[in-house]
Symmetry: C2
DNA sequence: TATTAATAATTGACCAGTCATCTATTTATT
DNA sequence: AATAAATAGATGACTGGTCAATTATTAATA
């Protein structure tokens, strides 16, 4: 194993383990000590791999999107399915993960960190915004496609519908955490199915 | 000034100043030291007035709702206006505060703390949930009223519409903080005006 | 009513532990 | 031998929380 490979491997382990902690506990409740301990990496190494805790979190956000959005993206862009059905499958897929894999407790790493840190770290705010707007652009395109086909109505601009759906999903994740219960995302799915994507 | 009055006054100052800090910085980034310093109250007194930091935050959440929801509630329950118009005025009022008084940066204290702490403090989670469900019940009633009058459609249960609107509002606050920009709440207002409360 | 005893309120100094970060050193690679 | 990579351990500042000592208030007594 070459030096650089080993290097990137350790940085990746730190990121993977750090993402878990950040996701559940947020920025301020996750310490560098926690991260290196759970990753089995010497404490002193952390600042060899990353400039600072903030820098680490920016890279964690990027890895989070790359790892977690990719499978959902495949569903969204699967051209063998109609645009409207793709949108529904896409949301079904994402929100099933929240419900079943995560027991309604953790929400989305980016939303959590955005809520906690947007006002206090420009680097973190911008990295989240950047990734989210990339996602939003993809969804907007599919909504536009569905509108062009007459599958969903034309009353609102595709970009506004997409932004609203994403925001409503975010909020339902917050309430889901507060309730410890899937009602908010079930209600969300019903609303987009029966009202927004009509 | 009697002893008990002075007592409650100091506790109130701690709560008011603490709410400001918690609102902006969240639970873990707000220290007891920060709170007593800004309130001009001796450190030792904090634990005379409150059992713990967690207990303080629960009481801060209660005071936050009592102080901030009350004026909006008056608008919501003002029987001289039709139910649908009351709903629109109510949301207009709340989201103007976010935009104009708070520069799109702070969101809602309860949402912020819910996102950060729901998984880690049952006391905080329950106090937020309790207050939010009280608010939700009031909104639900007004939506029901509007449905009965035929002012808005009957396709969804009033409780589901109310929950969805509140969740969408929450999410738009998160994105507002991330974007540093009012677009998400403007888009939210348009959506409830043109789609949900039709 | 004046004095004392008992109780309650209030306080800053202090605790053990943790924080993010840095530096001096060791280990591995050319 | 020279250079770069990796790490152990230490740093000062800060954490939530405690507590013995002080002060203010009330109750009891003469």
């Amino acid at each position: 194993m070459t030096k650089t490979l080993k290097h990137e491997l350790k940085a990746d382990i730190l990121l993977d383990k750090g993402i878990e902690l950040l996701w559940s506990k947020g920025y301020n409740a996750t310490s560098v000590n926690d991260i290196v301990k759970i990753a089995g990496v010497p404490k002193g190494s952390f600042y060899f791999y990353f400039e600072s805790k903030e820098d680490f979190v920016v890279k964690a956000i990027e890895k989070y999107f790359d790892d977690h959005f990719t499978p959902a993206k495949e569903i969204l862009l699967n051209k063998s399915v109609s645009p409207k059905q793709r949108l529904l499958n896409f949301h079904e897929f994402r929100y099933n993960i929240l419900k079943n894999e995560m027991d309604c407790k953790m929400g989305c790493l980016a939303c959590n960190l955005g809520n906690e840190m947007a006002e206090h770290s420009e680097a973190i705010r911008k990295s989240i915004l950047n990734k989210e707007q990339f996602v939003l652009a993809l969804i907007t395109e599919v909504i536009q496609e569905a509108q062009d086909l007459g599958e969903i109505n034309n009353l609102m601009a595709a970009a506004d519908i997409a932004a609203f759906i994403e925001d409503a999903g975010k909020g339902s994740m917050t309430t889901m955490k507060e309730m410890n219960n899937a009602y908010p995302i079930d209600n969300f799915m019903n609303m987009i199915r029966n009202v927004l994507l009509k």
